[in-house]
Symmetry: C2
Subunit: 152 residues, 2 copies
């Protein structure tokens, strides 16, 4: 596996990856622990809500996208974590049986001025169900620069 | 319990609430499912990382804050969900045994132009450990307006 360093990433790079099907059982388990609002944890209340059935916590949907990122592009990237996330939006509810996949696009990159071992990489992430966006955010990542010994 | 409607919320309102202690066991369980990066799931790898020990997934920290919101101010609010979150930042790692609490401040409110039954309320959330910020975001909430029959 070749490690992807800051130098290997180009603005405009896109990737499509991942497949994760979420069950009602997993939605309930997450929401009972972290987001026990009625339309996430109570099937009867959810039937009377505008959604008509249980929907996933927005934080659960985000966490599933993170799992797909870790198994996908982050797996061979010299990533140094994220400073944060901008413009997190939940576009459509995620329902039991939905299968999420991911589209990413690199928006910007620049070397760190304070830390010469890393650069900043901003990427747009979109989580899709049946090709339609259900969640999106701009991830503010940090990626290690290629070690001197390996430079051309 | 008196329901808090859009009309009851004022810009500048602040609240402090919640207490949630996160264990290493819970951190591992969350990260194994949703964020299996070595410094979240592998104690030996974490010891060799800049953090020196296991740290919580940033999405786990966000999810814990959501739990405290649901048990706190959202419990009696006529909330209609969130459109999204801006400026999500992870300021410091969360470690086993840390206890999170929350500070919120209402930044802005305005009626919806398209849906007369609701208004938009933007709030700054800060998650604290020992009084120091570990996570923060601006939540873009929707809150129901007081029904006509109940207006003064």
């Amino acid at each position: 596996m070749t490690t992807v360093y800051y130098e290997d990433i180009e603005v405009g790079d896109t990737e499509e990856f991942g497949e994760y099907t979420v069950t009602a059982e997993e939605m309930l388990e997450f929401a009972e622990q972290y987001d026990p609002q009625p339309f996430h944890v109570d099937e009867e209340a959810a039937e009377d809500s505008p959604f008509g059935e249980l929907i996933a916590s927005g934080w659960h949907t985000a966490s599933i996208c993170m799992r797909l990122l870790v198994e996908g592009p982050l797996d061979d990237q010299a990533g140094m974590g994220a400073r944060g996330v901008d413009e997190l939006r939940w576009h459509q509810p995620v329902r039991p049986g939905d299968t999420l996949s991911i589209h990413t696009e690199v928006l910007d990159k620049r070397p760190s001025e304070s830390a010469p071992d890393r650069g900043y990489v901003d990427s747009q992430l979109t989580g899709l169900v049946d090709g339609e966006p259900v969640i999106s955010w701009v991830g503010l990542g940090m990626v290690a620069r290629r070690p001197e010994a390996e430079s051309e």
